[in-house]
Symmetry: C2
Subunit: 226 residues, 2 copies
Amino acid sequence: MVSSPVVNTYPLTNYTFGAKEPKMEKDTSVADRLARMKLNYMKEGMRTSVEGILLVQEHNHPHILLLQIGNTFCKLPGGRLKPGENEIEGLKRKLFSKLAPSSASFQPNWQIGECVATWWRPNFETVMYPYCPPHITKPKVSCIHHIRGQICQLSYHTKTNNFYFQECKKLFIVHLSEREYFAVPKNLKLLAVPLFELYDNVQRYGPVISTIPQQLSRFQFNMVTS
Amino acid sequence: MVSSPVVNTYPLTNYTFGAKEPKMEKDTSVADRLARMKLNYMKEGMRTSVEGILLVQEHNHPHILLLQIGNTFCKLPGGRLKPGENEIEGLKRKLFSKLAPSSASFQPNWQIGECVATWWRPNFETVMYPYCPPHITKPKVSCIHHIRGQICQLSYHTKTNNFYFQECKKLFIVHLSEREYFAVPKNLKLLAVPLFELYDNVQRYGPVISTIPQQLSRFQFNMVTS
């Protein structure tokens, strides 16, 4: 049989959670965010962001750590790379900023692991896609033995002249040690959300987070119970 | 930067498609299928099935080969392993049976690659999950800094006594050569369906096939145009 890559998951109760100074969001609305991203794109080109999937276990089931802003919006810890910054180093920097204690004596030992997904945002759309949307001028039928041209044509992007990607987002598994100390900014809540709650729940968690269970399904979870 | 695993995709027009004798489905209804699976489970225990994701490209966009039965139902090529059969060998056997010419002189050289997803069917449900559903008797709140017990309780399975998995399904990438000859059973149609058509289209393709784009998003597609 083919062996699956293994992710060790430790009980939630192994981990200690403290608080630290608030980390305010840069934008107060989606419109503000898109405007700022557009400005940044003009200055620096395609934005690359990196996010971490930190796993713990409860009741023998994997849970993912999510940061909640306000009452409903949840996001993975992570953020935008500086121009030219290495993905792994950039993700560590973002995770430390969001989840590590400020004190130098408690620096965490998080290992950045496998990339599990990449999402692309074309132009200044609010929607991301898990592939490069095709950008061709002459849609053609693309099926064998079966004409499905109408559906294809509807989905093809036809404006090719100004086509580019504004953002590329990569999700990485972060391997936690058996014990860790997290410090959560006071304006955010840290949630451990079970996979079964994320699955098929695009309304609550959005398309990126709600399909993490599928992306993790090829891994074997080693539920350490100590 | 982290390098992504590469999948070479060749133009659809590189491949030749012929027909062969029909391969009839074993069941004529979902109820028949579930009844047969239950009987098999009694005899042989958990069923393991393996399916192949065969990729081609058109318009610089990856397409997946799907078999269509009748007018609407689509499936990946693959099938059930014999008890004790190796996953890779079993998938090759199933792919050859579904897609290869009967003649020994044209045997294809398909390389079974990465496992991209695993799905589990508990008991005799019609639904599959991309994780092992937790089976505990005492649901507990499983969140940090935030009480979300109600949602958790709703989703936990509480019947533990008869809990088991009836089926485990694994999806593998199949690396095609630059040129291949396929022979499609006369009662089936072979479609090359673009990723953007599968994405977010659970109604048409079901939960397993419609999230393949997310599972492939970590790969880099090398679109060979020769």
